[in-house]
């Protein structure tokens, strides 16, 4: 019975992880840029929800609607203004560039919000849901469902909409896409914007479970990376499977080895996957 509960916890966590990783994977796959800022975007989204709720009384789930356009604009501008100039540079330079930007953003957050851990507490709380032997807090459950819905929305955008198909085309073959009349620079900026949107929107959801602090950014970044490797780079279903898998592995790992070894466990998993199945569990070419 304990195992059922742990499995349920893992799936809830995993749903949120999918949402974190989908945007990161999209940017990495299409732009070939590792966006170190991703973790800080998530934290910033969390702060938006926290202060929106505490100061203005906006429900955290509703603040996603505010976070989404804001973060899209931020990501779009950042890509258009800065990162597009470096897109063809070696990996080391693009990586160092986003690292520098991340240092600036996380330092700004540290100065503005201090390193204190803040916890978003709903008043009144949403209560718990008992499904036989499994007990789940409703706020977490809703957060997970919203996270999965957001990820599904990204999937639909990429597979159904015109701009989504353009993004997939650029990922498959940049030159050919350009020849077919796709504005590659614009597609890059929109892709980065979508990545930022996914990060910013998952911030409020994660704030329902984890405390918010500028120091947690790198943790989310590491998880996004592990999930991309697990699920295979550049597919939304891959990020979803990878996220759920990591969530389940982490909650069983916490049971067997203790929660303080979470990073070590992910790293071992990462190395094993990279050595045994480098293309990931669902890896293949093309962003679907």
């Amino acid at each position: 019975m304990l195992y059922l509960q742990i499995l349920a916890n893992g799936l809830v966590l995993g749903g949120l992880y999918s949402c974190i990783a989908a945007g990161f994977s999209l940017v990495w796959g299409v732009l070939n840029v590792i966006n170190i800022l991703h973790g800080s975007f998530i934290v910033l989204g969390g702060y938006l929800a926290f202060f929106g709720y505490v100061k203005l009384g906006i429900h955290p789930f509703a603040s996603i609607l505010i976070a989404a356009p804001l973060f899209f604009a931020l990501g779009y501008a950042l890509q258009r203004g800065l990162i597009n100039r470096m897109i063809a540079a070696p990996v080391l330079l693009t990586l160092t560039l986003t690292f520098g930007l991340d240092l600036m953003l996380s330092n700004a957050m540290l100065a503005a919000f201090t390193a204190d851990f803040r916890k978003l507490l709903l008043d009144p709380p949403l209560g718990i849901l008992a499904l036989g032997p499994v007990v789940l807090p409703v706020d977490r459950l809703v957060a997970m469902l919203l996270a999965l819905a957001l990820t599904g929305l990204l999937y639909l955008t990429l597979s159904r909409s015109r701009i989504g198909r353009a993004i997939v085309a650029v990922r498959m073959d940049r030159e050919a896409a350009a020849l077919m009349g796709v504005n590659v620079k614009n597609v890059y900026a929109i892709t980065f914007g979508l990545g930022a949107l996914m990060a910013g929107a998952s911030g409020p959801l994660l704030a329902m479970i984890f405390p918010i602090s500028p120091l947690t950014g790198p943790v989310y970044l590491g998880k996004a990376f592990v999930i991309c490797v697990l699920g295979g780079l550049g597919s939304v279903p891959g990020a979803m499977i990878g996220g759920l898998a990591l969530g389940v592995v982490e909650s069983f790992g916490a049971l067997w080895f203790g929660p303080e070894h979470a990073t070590t466990l992910s790293f071992v998993l990462l190395i094993v996957i990279l050595l045994v199945r480098p293309e990931g569990l669902l890896g293949r070419k093309g962003y679907s």
Binding site: V91, T96, F99, M104, A111, F267, L274
Partner: protein
């Protein structure tokens, strides 16, 4: 090569005069600068020569610091403890290299970035051996005066810089350096033409680990107290890259020049911005990457007098 070696000897001899100034401030600054020099030159082996974006510097530094500290805790003399730290970093780099160096680009970069986090977590939980989050105190060296201690650690770091520089110079002009440059330009082609890429890459990775490990141990002895977030700081990895980028990757004097410049910036600029310390570092990185991706020394090639000598 002889010219470079000669310049270096003169340079190091001049630097060795610093303790005679009698200023504790300059001595402390100089020791930090030499440590940065070791870190930057070490990163150059894997990052500058082989072109692999390694973020493992922090892992080697922390590993060395803790190996040295624990060895000293068990009563080993300082010099032996430092050697142990170097060997531990060397062995760890060999093992890690065999696993990680199959990866390329982003995969390698991030995997090497996570290593420091993993080590930090392990050290944090091994409380009995390492003191965990409480940190670890080291025995105070048995030297007569504080000034003598400061000078001692300055010369220890200078010696380490000299060794690292010699290793880098020898590598640059040897078959290993040639092979590494081939790997940087086109690894598949190098592999096809008979360069044993795995062996070369692992060798470069080991060279990039051993001196950093020793520097970590010297640092631990120097400051008497270490704790996990201090010595496994990811910023060590980032600073190494920034210093090499500042000075120019792949050149012989570039990393040292970059280290000196970086420390000057750190002292002159950041002391005034304690609150936004890392933010200013971030801004520096962004500007550097956007406008001077080949390093400051590349600027000198544009000057008219520099062209005439070529």
């Amino acid at each position: 090569m002889k010219r470079d070696a000669l310049i270096a000897v003169v340079l190091f001899a001049l630097v060795a005069l610093v303790p005679f100034s009698g200023e504790a401030y300059w001595l402390r600054l100089g020791t930090t600068m030499l440590m940065y020099g070791v870190i930057a030159m070490s990163w150059n082996f894997i990052g500058g020569m082989a072109g692999y974006p390694s973020f493992a510097v922090a892992a080697f530094f922390g590993l060395g610091a803790y190996t040295g500290a624990v060895a000293q805790k068990f009563g080993l003399p300082m010099g032996l403890a430092w050697t142990c730290a170097g060997l531990a970093a060397l062995a760890f780099a060999a093992l890690l290299g065999v696993a990680l160096l199959r990866l390329r680009g982003h995969y390698f970069a991030i995997a090497s970035l996570v290593v420091a986090e993993v080590l930090r977590e392990l050290v944090n939980s091994a409380t009995e051996l390492t003191g965990g989050g409480m940190g670890l105190n080291l025995p105070i060296p048995t030297m007569t005066s504080i000034d003598a201690q400061a000078a001692f650690f300055f010369y220890a770091m200078l010696g380490l810089v000299a060794i690292t520089f010699a290793a880098m110079l020898l590598t640059t002009y040897s078959k290993l350096g040639f092979g590494l440059r081939c790997i940087q330009q086109n690894e598949s082609a190098a592999d096809m033409l008979g360069v044993d890429t795995t062996f070369y890459k692992v060798s470069a990775f080991m060279l990039s680990g051993v001196f950093v490990g020793m520097a970590g141990a010297v640092y631990a002895s120097w400051v008497h107290y270490i704790e996990p977030p201090d010595v496994f700081d990811v910023l060590f990895s980032v600073k190494a890259i920034v210093m090499v980028l500042l000075g120019g990757a792949g050149s012989v004097f570039g990393p040292l020049f970059g280290a000196a410049l970086f420390l000057s910036l750190e002292e002159l600029v950041w002391r005034k911005f304690l609150e936004v310390h890392t933010g200013v570092l971030g801004l520096l990185i962004v500007l550097l990457v956007m406008f001077l991706p080949k390093g400051l020394l590349s600027l000198s090639n544009r000057l008219p007098w520099a062209r005439k000598t070529r």
